[in-house]
């Protein structure tokens, strides 16, 4: 697989005042990569992707993307949405298209169809006219994923998107991501604590704790972890054995 580079991060350091959350991180992402970014709570994953998205400023380092690359973003803590916010599911998903548009912000027929298709794909079409605050956490997460997907972005950046999903939905969710990745060539950066579920779909693991500790394939990561175990050792071993059989 030879794909063009879509994101290049060099010597990135991000601080909150004096506290260093991300320290001297370098890696690059190629088109159609499906990367899981893992690490313990507070290891700087959210800080890293927020900096990549331009929401935080880096103290040092560079982030380079080719011009014209579009990004879809699913933030962490979608559960903290205002329960009383008056917005219907279709209004929220439409935001994924309308927020990027120039004036006049009107949806074309094709775009309305896109919204319907995405809602169908995520199996939330029956919720279209519901208030988002009235949905369950997992349903809300699917709505916000729909909002990220509806504009057909080149790169998807997802911050713990599966934390509120049940077992079945989690599998469906990864199948959808995998389909987008392999059939539509979407590059995916996925922050997750559930590397065991993601491992079948990803082609790379980035493991960080302020610094970048590992960058490579999942099986190489498992080998690496035999020397210095990671918190998820148990599920990893289990997974690894399954792979070998």
């Amino acid at each position: 697989m030879s794909h063009e580079q879509i994101l290049d991060i060099r010597n990135l350091t991000v601080k909150y005042h004096t506290f260093t959350a991300v320290s001297n991180v370098s890696f690059s992402v190629n088109e159609q990569d499906f990367i899981a970014i893992i690490g313990a709570n507070g290891s700087g994953k959210t800080t890293l992707i927020k900096t990549v998205l331009g929401l935080l400023n880096a103290q040092e380092g560079t982030i380079v993307t080719p011009t014209g690359v579009t990004v879809g973003y699913l933030p962490q803590h979608t559960m903290s949405l205002d329960r009383f916010f008056p917005a219907t599911v279709d209004e929220v998903v439409g935001m994924g298209l309308l927020a990027k548009k120039r004036f006049p912000k009107i949806l074309s027929k094709q775009e309305k169809q896109n919204i319907e298709d995405v809602l169908h794909m995520l199996n939330i079409q029956h919720l279209t006219h519901k208030r988002i605050g009235a949905l369950s956490g997992g349903q809300q997460q699917r709505v916000l994923l729909a909002r990220a997907l509806v504009s057909n972005p080149d790169v998807l950046i997802l911050d713990e998107p599966t934390s509120a999903l049940d077992h079945n939905m989690r599998k469906q969710f990864f199948d959808i991501l995998s389909h987008l990745n392999t059939s539509h060539g979407v590059t995916i950066l996925l922050v997750t604590h559930d590397i065991a579920s993601a491992s079948d779909y990803i082609n790379r693991v980035i493991y960080m704790d302020q610094k970048l500790l590992f960058d490579g394939t999942f099986s190489a990561f498992c080998e690496d972890q035999k020397l210095s175990p990671f918190i998820h050792t148990h599920s990893l071993r289990h997974k690894k054995m399954g792979d070998e059989s």
Partner: protein
């Protein structure tokens, strides 16, 4: 009918029509910005700014120049200032508003006492009085309301995205800093044009009430704004007529009517409607 005759008589005078024009335009513009402020947890900014408007009016009256224009310049500047304070200093929005309101009120009352009182009834500026509304106020409110409504309508999708989730809006390329500043200017303008009918102390309720009344039974964002505007227009019209008939201050009458409607909608939702 006595009441109808009385109302007919009222409408034969110019002041009642002026009050209606001012009231309706303020009702629409304040319910257009209300949802953004309420949902961004910034609804008390109207309250803070109304204190500033009071100080502005005191200054204007002191120099015998158009108090509302004077007030508008000051209020809009302070509104943007509060926003910047909230963005940059380690100060929460409500603290920034509380401080500004207190300082402005202190300043206004000191001015009033130094000047030894004004030849205009300050009370009417505090609680609203339809009798004091001039032709120029009508032109001002209609013009500025149209500006507020036009800007909010044009920027509707950006404001909606930003209110729902600021980070997502930024990633989508929306300049949220600029948008927040525009919102702050619109709030300042709305507060000042509402002073004649509502009074400085009560204008903020015209920003908050329609939104929370609408939120009791709407699901979508657009419908919330539309219902807020429609209900606010009706409440203001009935409030102004009530104010005339009962000889109550217009702002107070409108606020009380809003309270009654809110209570009615709330109870209806809680008790009479089968599902929650």
């Amino acid at each position: 009918m006595n009441i109808i005759q009385e109302l007919m008589a009222a409408f034969s005078y110019g002041f009642m029509w002026r009050a209606l024009f001012v009231g309706v335009s303020v009702a629409i513009s304040s319910s257009f910005i209300g949802p953004y402020l309420v949902l961004k947890r910034f609804s008390m900014i109207g309250h803070g700014l109304s204190h500033v408007a009071f100080a502005g009016i005191a200054v204007g009256l002191l120099f015998r120049t158009a108090p509302l224009i004077f007030s508008m310049v000051i209020v809009v500047s302070v509104s943007v200032f509060i926003l910047k304070l909230n963005e940059t200093a380690k100060l929460h929005g409500d603290a920034a508003i509380g401080l500004t309101a207190a300082v402005a009120m202190a300043f206004g009352t000191v001015l009033a006492s130094v000047a030894g009182g004004f030849n205009v009834d300050l009370f009417s500026f505090l609680f609203g009085s339809i009798l004091t509304i001039q032709r120029i106020d009508v032109y001002l409110s209609i013009t500025f309301s149209i500006v507020v409504i036009a800007v909010v309508t044009t920027l509707y999708h950006d404001l909606f995205s930003m209110t729902f989730e600021e980070d997502f809006a930024k990633v989508s390329g929306i300049n949220t800093k600029r948008l927040n500043t525009i919102l702050a200017v619109l709030v300042g303008v709305t507060v000042v044009i509402g002073i004649r009918a509502m009074g400085t102390l009560l204008i903020s309720s015209l920003i908050i009430f329609p939104t929370i009344i609408a939120m009791q039974f709407t699901k979508g964002f657009k419908t919330t704004i539309v219902i807020a505007a429609v209900s606010s227009v009706f409440i203001v019209i009935f409030g102004l007529m009530g104010s005339y008939l009962l000889d109550w201050p217009s702002g107070s009458t409108i606020v009380l009517l809003n309270g009654v409607v809110f209570l009615g909608v709330y109870l209806y939702n809680r008790i009479l409607r089968p599902q929650g």
